[in-house]
Amino acid sequence: MHALRDASLEVEPGELVAIMGPSGSGKSTLLNLAGGLDLATSGDVLVEGTRLNSLSRKQLARLRRRAIGYVFQDFNLIPSLTAVENVALPLELDGSSVRAARQAATRCLVDLGISGLADRFPETMSGGQQQRVAIARAVVGDRRLILADEPTGALDSQTGEAVLKLLRGRCDAGAAGLLVTHDARHAGWADRVVFLRDGAIVDASSPLPAAESLLGAR
């Protein structure tokens, strides 16, 4: 039994790709493979030219810390740390000095327009604010692959939209994004939508046409 088969997918810098499909179709597996959280039994996963299967456990962990950011449905912020400390944590774990990590985290919060949250603890923030901090944590230190698994699942639609906008903005600024969602409205933010069924890609929307073509058709 394979969770995925014959699935081939390339995500370019600057591109946001949404993955849709019924439950059990392999969406999360695809995301976990792309992020090196799982290794494929066959086939290759390359992140910026590096073949994940060829790495030692330690090398893989390092690549995951440096090149890949994860955003989950339930934020996963550490409750005893402030927003800026949460964002700085991956850099510190990766060997940055506390001071340098803190500076980079602060810059990142400013970039994302949420510097006002820097000194707040997770429990004092709304879900939407926590998810924005989680996105900051996912992109801090110039990580260029962002993997988001139902990032709006726990948010109301307005807040979910703001989070998607932030993700879209990071991709427009050059990151590559992979978004798993069951929500067509959120998939609408993607450049491409890939549809999975029974572990195979059954469909993919082509790159978007010019804006005018759609209005003309109405």
Binding site: M20, P22, S23, G24, K165, R168, H182, D183, A184, R185, A187, G188, W189, A190, D191, V193, F195, V202, D203, S205, S206, L208, P209, A211, L214, L215, R218
Partner: protein, 197 residues
């Protein structure tokens, strides 16, 4: 919606002639509804005949402005206060198409569902991009875009629901034969569940 009420609404802002009305109409609907000038003039003629507007003297450029009458204002008020009834035709066509696909031999209904879903998602991507670009500049335009987004979203959810029903039907053929039920006619009890999967 009728062009008639659209023009009355625009004339409520003040007298205007045909070309101005067309430009204002397209501006306020974000060009989603292109109107030809012939339609504008025919509609104005009918509105004048029904005493809902009156023609003012031609200006020096030979343009004839129209002004809304009291009867026109009353008709406009009724329009605004009456809920829109009836159906969305393209959606109806889709429901009928799916019902027919289910009962026509040799039609791959999941293929029909999937093709429609991808087309609708593509439209959704496009609306979202337009919305993102317009960035709160124009409330009327955003309102229209949002309406299209909600409609597309609803259609995808409905398609998900149809597909889930078909899968269940295929797994449990104990229920009445497929010909007996059209997916569009089923209840939405598990629509939420299937859309979250």
């Amino acid at each position: 919606m009728s062009v008639k009420h659209g023009l009355l609404a625009l004339l409520e802002r003040g007298p205007a002639y045909g070309y101005q009305l067309r430009a204002a109409f397209e501006e306020s609907t974000g060009a989603t509804w292109p109107l030809n000038i012939g339609q504008v003039y025919t509609t104005l003629t009918r509105l004048e005949r029904d005493h809902l507007v009156r023609a003012l003297p031609e200006n020096q450029q030979g343009q004839r402005p129209y002004a809304i009458s009291d009867a026109g204002r009353a008709a406009l008020a009724v329009w605004f206060s009456t809920p829109v009834a009836g159906t969305d035709r393209p959606r109806d066509e889709l429901a009928i198409k799916l019902a027919l696909a289910l009962t026509t031999p040799g039609v791959d209904i999941s293929g029909v569902v999937q093709a429609q879903r991808m087309a609708t998602i593509r439209a959704l991507q496009e609306y979202t991009r337009m919305k993102n670009q317009s960035d709160n500049a124009d409330t009327a335009w955003l309102l229209i875009l949002e309406s299209m987004i909600f409609r597309a979203e609803a259609e995808v959810r409905w398609l998900d629901h149809c597909e889930a029903s078909l899968v269940r039907e295929a797994r449990n053929p104990v229920s009445p034969p497929a010909q007996a039920t059209a997916p569009a006619a089923e209840t939405g009890i598990d629509a939420h569940e299937s859309s979250r999967s």
